[in-house]
Point group: C2
Chain length 174, copies 2
């Protein structure tokens, strides 16, 4: 999937997002064209979806986050999805196995405002029941780097010794 150099590119990019290709090539000890090519490949692979700004809902005035588990009336799934997509406070929606049918992440301006949001969310015919859990703390914010490092490490071991020699040239660790 991705090799060790790819991993280092991603990690570096995650740490200093506004870094340029040239500076990256210097840090990684490879040629500029190589970094360029890796980046292009990672993006066309879909490994890197984009570089959108990470916006903090709290700073936007929505400090309350909650997760709602929804039970859907049979056959209404598509309508419910479309409905939820129109609610800006619904940041994310998944269909799941288990007791609930859908799980969505909500934000609101306050606990009181959350009531309004939930009313809007469940105020739709196909939704039978909703159970909500308000987020108090977020000890591990959404992260990907540990997984990238694990994937890169796995690649290193998979391609293993065969790469070692080339490795010392193309993939020097920092």
């Amino acid at each position: 999937m991705i090799d060790h150099l790819d991993g280092r590119v991603i990690v570096l990019l995650a740490r200093e997002p506004r870094i340029g290709v040239l500076e990256m090539s210097r840090r990684l000890g490879v040629a500029r064209g190589t970094v360029q090519a890796r980046l292009d490949r990672l993006q066309s692979n879909g490994v890197i979806r984009g570089f959108g700004p990470e916006v903090d809902p709290a700073a936007l005035g929505y400090p309350v986050t909650a997760f709602a588990t929804l039970q859907i009336r049979q056959g209404q799934g598509a309508d419910v999805r479309a409905h939820l997509a129109t609610v800006p406070e619904v940041l994310e929606l998944h269909t799941t196995t288990g007791s609930g049918d859908m799980l969505c992440r909500l934000v609101a301006r306050s606990n009181a405002d959350l009531q309004r949001v939930i009313d809007r969310v469940v105020g739709f015919d196909g939704i039978v029941r909703a159970s909500t859990a308000i987020v108090m703390e977020n000890p591990v914010p959404l992260r990907i780097i540990p997984l990238v490092e694990q994937a890169a490490q796995a690649a290193r071991e998979r391609d293993g010794r065969a790469e070692r020699s080339a490795d010392s040239r193309t993939d020097r660790p920092e």
Copy 2:
């Protein structure tokens, strides 16, 4: 919190992340320095946390996503948090109100692999029970733009008519 111009900056940045400040200023019809200043302010405000690459776990070889609700033994919260932070497959962790005590997002290489991940997650003393919901579909991937637009619109209405005249040129308020 943010005004209309801030909103446009964020939306534009979300749509074309690799765009430069100069090109932005052209698109938005304002001076380069203005965009520069707005961006700096948004970042120091914490509205924009960063521009980290968005990595797709599926493309990394982790196509299975799940949400686990954990029940924690009283007083073991801190230990559990520390434990979960060491598991790369734990992408996110929240403490919540409601029947569970924590909610975490997991990824795995397969359904079978998910078992391994869950075993690792719950294989820790402080965790009493875990209930897992596997994600089937993701009709609304994590998004923020609708919320940004709503916040920007709210600002526009809040500062309202008073700003109208200036608006067409400077797009001010805060």
